[in-house]
Structures are given as C-alpha cells and as structure tokens.
C-alpha cells in the first residue's frame, strides 16, 4: 500500500521523464563518423594492447559485410552511422584513482539521479540494509567503481572493462566474445568494433559475492552512441547478483545504444542479472527523439547445474530490440527470464528471450508481462529450442499482454523447436485490456483513477516484480506507473 501511495504521489509530482536533464560536463569527443581510424582512436584512448585492437578491427571489417536484422516488429528510418560520435568522455586528468578525485560536477549528476557513489554515504545508511557496489558509466567511459577494495578481499574483481583489459588480460582474452561472438549480429558486431567501456566482474570459485553489484549507464553527450560491453564470469559454485540501470537526457535526435552483455557460468555457478531500463523514450506525441536500444545479452551456462536468471523492467527507449538469452549447455543447468516491458506514447518494443537447451535435463522458465498504452507497439518474441542431446529438458512459458486504450498493439511471437522426443514445453499466453469495468469497480471503492490504474497494473506485473531485489522492485513499480501516466482517461 505504501508503495502504491508513493507511486501515485511520485507520478503526480512528475511532468513526464524525470531524468531528461542535460548536464554541462566538458567532454572530449572522437571525430564524428565511423572508420577503421576511429576504431584505432578508441583503442589508443584506452591504452589497449595490440590483441584488443586487432580484435576490434576484425569486428569492424566483419560489420561492413553484415546486414541489419529486418524481422523485428519495429520501424525506424535508416541510421546514418557517419553522423554520430563513437567516443565521448568527460574530461579528466588520468582517470580518477579514488572517489575524491572524481569531478564534483559528475558526482552531482549521479546524486541528482539518486545513484549512491560515495561509499561512506552508503555505509552511513541504515544498519543491516543491503549495500550496493556501483560502476558508473558516463557516455563512453566508466567514471568510478565503488567498493572495489572490499570486494577484492574476497577475490571478486569488479571494475570497468577498460581496466580489466589492462589489468586482467588473461581473463578477458579467455572469455571475451565467447558467448556473443563478434559476428553474432549486426549490432553486436558494431559493438565489438567500437565498444568504449562497460563492467567486468569475476567471481572466483566457491565465492558468494558479498554485495549486489550494479552498473549505472548514463548517456549525456549529444549525437553520441553508447556501446558498452559487460562481461561477468561466475566460476565454479560462485554466486553474484547484478543490476544495471540506464537513463539519458531528452534530446530531439535519436541516439543509438548497442550494448553487449556476456555471462559465463561454470559448474554450479549462479548469476542473477536484473535490468531497470529507463532510457529517454522520445516525445510521447510526435515520437521525436529517444534512444534506440539494440542490445545483445546472452548467458552461457557452460557448467553443469549452473543457473542464470534474467529479470528486466523495460520502460524507456524509443525502440527496444533485445532478447536476453540462455544457452543451457551444462547438464541440469537452468535459465529463467522474467520481463516487464512497458510501452506508451510512440514507443516500440520487440523483446523476449531465447532458451537454447543443449544439455540433458536442462530447465527454463519464461514469464513475460507486456503492457502497451498510447500509440505504442509491444511484441514478445521468444525461442525455446531443445537439441537432440537435451533429453528431459523442460520449459514453461507464460506471456501476458495488457492493453491500455484503443490505439496500441501487442504481439506474441513464440518459436518452439524440439529436436528430441523427450522434452516437455508448455506455453500459456493471454491478452487482456485494462477494463473500464475494473477501473470503475476500484473507484467505487474509493480509489482515484491513478490509484486504480497503479493497483491494477501492479497486480498484472507482480509475479515479475517479486524477482527483483527488494529496493529495485519498489523503484520498478514506480517506474511502471510513471511510464503509464496519462494513458487512461
């Protein structure tokens, strides 16, 4: 109840997109456009070793020969890849060694966004409250990573990708691109060529990461894309829970966000990966501006009995094209995908998952809740496949769509392939409209229109919200209500 009340108050307090402010941070840009020289420029900026540059250049050559995916239920004019900056970084000296050296203007931006970067402030919080280590990525670079020391004491490596390439080249070379190969798809290949930063996590065998890890992505610079690359490795019997959040200013032009996330799980490892995506969705009436969120996320359950869980709350972006997937290679490994995708205004989302059962007795579960309002379009696209060796594999899929208003669309496109006779796949799907009757019923009991919508929508997404870490569930609940503001009546 408190959350519902809070939600309603928060919605009322906001005009529309809360994080739409532009910060005046002095930045350094690469020259506009994309070429092999730009790839070299980015690599040089980051002091990368030759092998990394070679990898990027190879990806760039590959990208030139690839074609864009055309199958998604999204429409947008062709992107001019020469009309964008591929590197934008806030100007600093040599990169801050500690928090005290971070540009106070940058810290102010994160404070405004409500992201805790000051460890002492986090520590000063309520005793017993969970703590979060944060990697803050601003445009193309990671500006700070908190709690590194404390994590290092238990052997957990948590740093920016740039730092990992310099400090932990063996781990990076061993795993980078092994889950999402450079040639995987058009956007992933572009990312491999020009990725600028991202987070790197390694949890050693048998270690349970003592705190939640999170990365906070912020696009600030104009005309720039963001191409971050995240690599998380959970060694044998390791456990880590990771959360990413994203926001961007309101700008009239579209900005491309083409990220790649690779998760590697060895025997008995477990990763929980949660995303709260709140990129600027564009103007709700004209559809002008907003982020193109074209992201490739994949988990490779290499180890037996390993377990991965994706939870995503997608409320932002002009266009979302994203299918966090699980390759269930290890025997008895399992994958879960919980998704809330909200579209309003002129937003388009084509999102879902792939559960690829390769090993015997692998299990997967998909719960997708799509909410469409305004003139938006919301598609669930999912693949569940079982290969000949995946004897005894099981999947349960549930896809529910909720329509608010008369001008929106919802699609459910499931692909199912079973190449052995001993797999059990279940699929349930529903599409419902938020009914005037339900709203009236709730209002007759004393709830305002906004409270009634918040209550009904929260009921619809409850199953997925329960999968998020507590604090983020409350945030996500608010975010969903804010995204739907003005969608009824």
């Amino acid at each position: 109840m408190a959350a519902i009340k809070q939600t309603v108050e928060q919605v009322k307090a906001l005009e529309s997109y809360e994080h739409g402010f532009i910060s005046d941070i002095e930045s350094e840009f690469a020259p506009k456009g994309l070429s092999a020289d730009i790839v070299r420029f980015i690599s040089a900026k980051k002091d990368e070793p030759q092998w990394m540059l070679d990898w990027r250049l190879e990806a760039y050559e590959r990208w030139l020969s690839l074609d864009k995916p055309h199958w998604a239920e999204v429409q947008f004019p062709p992107i001019d890849y020469q009309d964008s900056y591929y590197y934008a970084a806030p100007k600093t000296k040599d990169g801050p060694a500690s928090l005290d050296e971070v540009d106070p203007d940058l810290l102010a931006v994160y404070a405004k966004l409500g992201i805790p970067l000051k460890e002492q402030e986090v520590l000063a919080g309520v005793i017993g409250a969970p703590r979060y280590a944060v990697d803050a990525v601003f445009d193309s670079v990671s500006v700070v990573t908190t709690f590194k020391k404390e994590l290092a004491e238990v052997g957990v490596i948590f740093c920016s990708m740039s730092e990992a390439i310099r400090e932990h080249p063996d781990l990076v070379r061993k795993y980078l691109g092994t889950v999402v190969p450079t040639s995987d798809n058009y956007y992933a290949c572009l990312n491999a060529a020009v990725f600028s930063d991202g987070s790197f996590v390694y949890v050693p065998a048998g270690v349970r990461c003592p705190m939640e890890l999170s990365t906070y992505f912020r696009i600030n610079a104009e005309n720039s894309g963001q191409f971050e690359r995240t690599l998380i490795i959970a060694d044998k019997a390791a456990y880590v829970s990771y959360l990413e959040g994203c926001t961007a200013p309101m700008r009239d032009e579209n900005q491309l966000h083409a990220a790649v996330v690779e998760l590697v799980l060895l025997d008995d490892a477990e990763i929980k990966y949660s995303t709260v995506q709140n990129w600027y969705p564009g103007d709700p009436v004209t559809g002008k501006g907003g982020i193109y969120n074209f992201v490739t996320k994949r988990a490779d359950c290499r180890g037996d009995r390993s377990k991965v869980s994706w939870t995503q709350v997608e409320t932002g972006s002009a266009i979302t094209w994203k299918y966090p997937s699980c390759v269930l290679r290890g025997e008895g490994s399992s994958g879960e995908f919980y998704s809330i995708a909200v579209t309003n205004g002129r937003q388009q989302a084509d999102t879902g998952t792939k559960m690829i059962h390769l090993g015997a007795n692998t299990k997967s579960r998909i719960v997708s809740k799509g909410i469409s309002a305004g003139h938006s379009s919301n598609t669930y696209r999912g693949l569940v496949s079982a290969h000949p060796k995946a004897i005894g594999s099981r999947n349960f899929t549930q896809c529910d769509s909720l329509l608010i208003g008369k001008d929106c669309a919802a699609n459910t496109i499931p692909y199912v392939e079973a190449r052995n006779g001993q797999s059990i796949f279940e699929h349930e799907a529903t599409t419902t409209r938020l009914s005037e009757d339900q709203l009236f019923y709730a209002r007759q009991r004393g709830l305002s229109q906004e409270e009634a919508v918040a209550l009904l929508v929260n009921g619809f997404v409850r199953e997925v919200l329960q999968e998020l870490p507590m604090e983020f569930a409350v945030e996500a609940q608010k975010l969903v209500a804010i995204s739907l503001e003005g969608s009824v009546g």
Binding site: M1, F440, A442, R443, Q444, G446, L447, N458, G459, R462
Partner: protein, 246 residues
C-alpha cells in the same frame, strides 16, 4: 439521507430513468423491486457515477451533498457503497491489499489517519469470521476463481470493512444458495443502524425474508410507481409486476 428528485438518465441515446423520485431517511432499509429492464441497475450506476450513464435531468443528494457532480471515488468517500450484481475479478491484487487500499483512500479523502496494518488485519479477521470466509482466501487475488456465492460474500465483507453510510445492494441474492443467503443477510443486518441506510435491489421477495425492509418501492419504466410497507413485497410476489407494466 438520500434524496432523489425527478431523476432522468439515459444510456447512449436510450432514456432509462424517467423522472424518478425517492427519499430514504437515515436508518431505513428500502427495497426496490421491479421487472427486468425497469432501470434498477441503471439507478445504482447513476448514483455511483459509472461512465456511460448520462444524467439528463433531476437531482440526487446524500446528506444534502449533490452526488451527481462528484467523481465515483468522492462519492465513495462520502459513504456511498455499491455491492455489485457481478463483482469484478482483480488479477494479481490480493483481496486484503485491495480492501486496505480502498479503506485508506477513503480515510485519506476524509482527512482521517490511515489504518495501520495490525489494526487492519484484526478488523479483517473479525469481519471475515462473521461472514464465514476463510481468512486465507483474502490473500488470493480478489474474486479470481471465486464462485458466485464467494464473490457476493466478498462484496459484503468489503461493505463491512468500509462501513458505508449508504449501501446499494444490487441483486445480492442472485447466485446464492439458501445457506449462503442467510450468511450474507446476517452480514447485512449486522450493519443496520440508526445512522445507516440501504437500498436493496431485488427481483424476488426471497431476500426480503432475511433482510426485512422498512419500506418497499416498485420501479417500472424508469420511475417509482408505488411505495408501501413490507406487505407490498408479499403482494408483488403473488400478483407479479403486470399491473405496473406499460
């Protein structure tokens, strides 16, 4: 308490209520009977402010306050409650969550303090026990998968929790077997008092054996055509509505 004067209303282009007048003083239980299509449910929706029911003339006041200009939730906060003929299912929202949100929204609208969780749960347990509702049922999404009788009992439970000054019971007896009917009637009777009034809409005399009305009115062709004591209901049971039709 409730005063309706010359109320006319239409749905789409179709006039349903045609100059209906009715007064229900404080403490009175007033039964409305009438044939199908007389406008009984329309009356309940017009009073509670459902969209699509357009008032074309007349007034309706509760304790002197003009109901017709208020939003549905504001009418609820003034103490107006409707027990729905067909209660809605609310997926994903536990009954307890729903009722507590409603109760606190009303209290807030009346500038009262919210009821804290322990006090709310205690109240819910008491009221559920009185209506023979298993408390665990209140943890399930409201009305989802409930039987017709269970839904009606949930309506009366909400009524008991919200303690409205004026309740409209729309065909509360439909879908109830005799045992459930007794339980529901007991719940309703427990809420009778000098400060509360009720409008009991029904087709049949049967419900009125258990909820004894102070007065009975006949609604036909969108207006009240006869009013009398409880004996009027018995008379209708014998002779039917024919003489009020056309």
């Amino acid at each position: 308490m409730l005063s309706i004067q010359e109320l006319s209303a239409s749905v789409g282009e179709k006039p349903i209520l045609n100059g209906l007048s009715l007064t229900v003083p404080a403490g009175e239980v007033h039964a409305i009977m009438g044939p199908n299509g007389a406008g009984k449910s329309t009356l309940s929706y017009v009073l509670t402010g459902r969209e699509g029911y357009e008032v074309t003339g007349g007034t309706a006041t509760l304790d002197g306050v003009n109901l017709l200009s208020l939003a549905p939730e504001d009418r609820a906060a003034k103490g107006l409650f409707l027990s729905f003929q067909y209660p809605l299912e609310i997926p994903g929202v536990p009954a307890l969550t729903f009722v507590r949100a409603a109760l606190n929204a009303q209290r807030k609208a009346r500038s009262e303090d919210e009821l804290a969780a322990p006090a709310f749960l205690k109240l819910a347990r008491e009221k559920a026990a009185a209506l023979k509702i298993d408390f665990d049922m209140l943890k399930r999404p409201l009305n989802v998968g409930f039987s017709g009788g269970e839904k009606k009992r949930m309506e009366i439970l909400q009524m008991a929790m919200l303690e409205p000054r004026f309740s409209i019971l729309d065909e509360t007896d439909s879908g109830l077997d005799i045992d459930a009917l007794k339980i529901v009637a007991d719940g309703v009777n427990a809420l009778r008092g000098p400060d509360r009034s009720m409008l009991v809409i029904t087709h049949y005399q049967r419900l009125l054996d258990y909820i004894k009305p102070d007065r009975v009115s006949v609604l036909a062709n969108g207006r009240i055509v006869a009013t009398g004591g409880p004996e009027l209901a018995l008379e209708l049971e014998k002779s039917g509505y024919d003489r009020y039709a056309a």
